[in-house]
């Protein structure tokens, strides 16, 4: 099972390389643009933190760590392809049919389809370098256990974002004709935060780590891993636990929706007065 999945990731990488290298100019421009775009997004909070030395209880360097963590999550999400961001489009436009005629389990197709490793490496590299640099500045003891927790939290943040987007995207199973843009709306709801959430009122903070879990994509894990602003201890397990819960919810919704889809089919491609 794992070998087959890796084989399909390898295939995704090959298709990504073929697309990126269509022309030399495109490869250079795409890579540079991606790098400048993401660097620009990090710059504002870093400048604020550097100007004032801190944001709330977060030292400037810790803010850099949090942003670098968020950049790593965001780039890995991009690398994993389009399905979390475009699930409602797949459902509403009947594109799931294309996946279902492939002799692969659907989970594997959704996981590996659109894998784009050559699109995301500049931002991931930047994220890793900045995380390493800021952790060093904060004198974090990068023991194997700490690195393991960092990796676990990174994976958990990715699962949280994917599960959130899937759970929303699944609504399209029940309302496919007018709901193709649900995933776009959901992706605007949840994204990595540019500022620490500590100064935010408690009630809003709770919302931002539960119903709209933006806080789990960088703020809470970074706070726990760096032990800043009162974080630490068991906090480091909050994001992984949330990932399990949200993942289970998304999986249940997806299965229910898919079962319905097998009964109803996609309206996009049936012959009763819908657009083709």
């Amino acid at each position: 099972m794992a070998v087959e999945t890796l084989r399909l990731f390898g295939l995704g990488a090959r298709m990504n390389a073929i697309r990126i290298l269509r022309t030399r100019e495109q490869a250079i421009v795409a890579t540079l643009t991606d790098f400048i775009w993401h660097s620009g997004a990090l710059l504002a909070p870093v400048l604020v933190a550097v100007r004032f030395g801190h944001i709330g209880p977060w030292p400037a360097v810790a803010v850099v760590f949090m942003l670098a963590y968020g950049a790593a999550v965001s780039s890995l999400m991009d690398a994993l392809g389009d399905s979390p961001w475009r699930l409602s489009y797949y459902i509403g436009r009947g594109q799931l049919d294309h996946f279902l005629v492939q002799p692969q389990p659907l989970w594997r197709t959704l996981l590996t389809d659109g894998f784009t490793p050559f699109d995301f490496w500049p931002v991931l590299t930047m994220g890793i370098v900045l995380m390493a640099w800021s952790a060093g500045q904060l004198h974090v003891a990068a023991s194997p256990a700490w690195l393991g927790l960092l990796a676990l939290n990174l994976v958990a943040s990715i699962v949280v974002q994917t599960a959130f987007l899937y759970a929303w995207g699944c609504i399209a199973f029940w309302a496919p004709r007018g709901a193709e843009a649900i995933s776009s709306a959901a992706s605007r709801l949840v994204g990595d935060l540019s500022f620490p959430l500590d100064p935010v009122p408690r009630a809003l903070r709770v919302v931002l780590v539960t119903f709209v879990p933006s806080g789990l994509l960088s703020w809470l894990p970074a706070r726990a891993l760096l032990r800043v602003a009162g974080g630490g201890g068991l906090d480091v397990w909050l994001t992984p636990v949330a990932a399990v819960v949200l993942g289970a919810i998304a999986l249940t919704l997806f299965r229910l929706g898919l079962r319905r889809d097998r009964r109803t089919g996609s309206w996009r491609y049936v012959e009763h007065g819908h657009r083709r």
Binding site: L100, V101, P103
Partner: protein, 328 residues
């Protein structure tokens, strides 16, 4: 011959929401949604034998695409059983779809920003096709459908005809046992359509491939010399050969007379379709009105300069049938 597709008492219906265009109607629909049930298939029974070409036709909404989707494992029936190659297409999907080829005429499986060749490589990996089978089937498909001129072009640069040829070739890689083609000739020009139809015939003749094809294009289907199954409102209304279909509906013919007068002579047992100068066209059923009798009647009523008779185009025959079904 073995039965490769078996449908028994298959029933499928869909629910459709009804919507209003007025403000009051919209409010009412929001509070109390109105729905209607559309029955796509009404308990159909159908067998397809190995090595057969089966044309599946019928008016819009008759249930053709629904059947193909059931057989491609994309839909489950509400009642009845669907078996193909000994498998349940939905329950055994992963194993089953590896042994069939599916082409939807209005959709492409080609990777849009990639060379055509890259999509074939993608299919080889995703379908897990062994090297020898891949090389053999690819060489056959490339040759059959003439892919060489655009093998390294991006899919987005292809014409519709080239895209369809590439999609059909893609479905052949891995040597599927059944090929499901949903409107494969839609939008194609006459030449490309001919090439695609020739390819289907060759596949069936040389590889004994079972082909199930839906189309609205009756002359195309007749060219394939296929068994034809006509669906009407979710039920099978006809199952047989094109010759049988013509016999069933009467031996519909056209008569074209050229006379020295612009006035069309009235001929009993015919329908006058139109005149252009001294050229007059009639439709008639040769079983009810024998040709010698008709020609004698025409000669008695006008001075004939030229006479032609030919069979009515199959689409006219079927259009009449559809009109009968609709109650026009």
């Amino acid at each position: 011959m073995a039965t490769v597709v078996e449908l028994r008492g298959v029933h499928k219906s869909f629910e459709r929401r009804l919507r209003s265009a007025t403000f009051a109607g919209l409010l009412r629909d929001a509070l109390r949604p109105r729905r209607e049930t559309v029955t796509a298939l009404r308990g159909i029974d159908l067998d397809v034998e190995e090595g057969e070409i089966m044309a599946y036709a019928g008016p819009n909404g008759a249930g053709k695409s629904t059947t193909i989707k059931l057989l491609a494992g994309l839909l489950a029936p509400d009642a009845g059983t669907v078996r193909a190659l000994g498998a349940d297409p939905v329950r055994d999907r992963v194993r089953y779809v590896g042994r069939i080829g599916v082409v939807f005429g209005q959709r492409t499986e080609l990777w849009w920003d990639h060379p055509v060749s890259a999509t074939f490589g993608w299919r080889r990996t995703v379908w897990g096709i062994p090297d020898d089978v891949y090389e053999r089937s690819l060489a056959f498909a490339r040759d059959l459908l003439g892919l060489d001129p655009f093998w390294n072009a991006s899919a987005r640069e292809l014409s519709l005809g080239q895209r369809m040829r590439a999609d059909l070739a893609l479905a052949l890689v891995g040597e599927p046992r059944i090929l499901f083609l949903d409107e494969p000739t839609i939008g194609l020009d006459a030449l490309v359509k001919q090439e695609v139809l020739d390819a289907i015939r060759t596949l069936n003749r040389e590889r004994a491939m079972t082909v199930m094809i839906t189309s609205h294009d009756m002359p195309d289907l007749e060219q394939l010399r296929a068994r034809i199954v006509l669906l009407n409102a979710g039920s099978i209304a006809f199952d047989g050969s094109f010759d049988e279909l013509r016999r069933r509906l009467g031996d519909r013919r056209r008569l074209v007379l050229e006379t020295d007068s612009a006035a069309a002579p009235a001929l009993p047992g015919t329908t006058h379709l139109g005149s252009e100068g001294g050229r007059h066209e009639y439709a008639f059923d040769a079983l009810a009105t024998p040709i010698p009798q008709l020609l004698a009647a025409a000669a008695a009523r006008a001075r004939l300069l030229d006479v032609e008779t030919h069979r009515a185009p199959i689409e006219d025959v079927v259009a009449d049938l559809y009109r009968d079904w609709r109650g026009d």
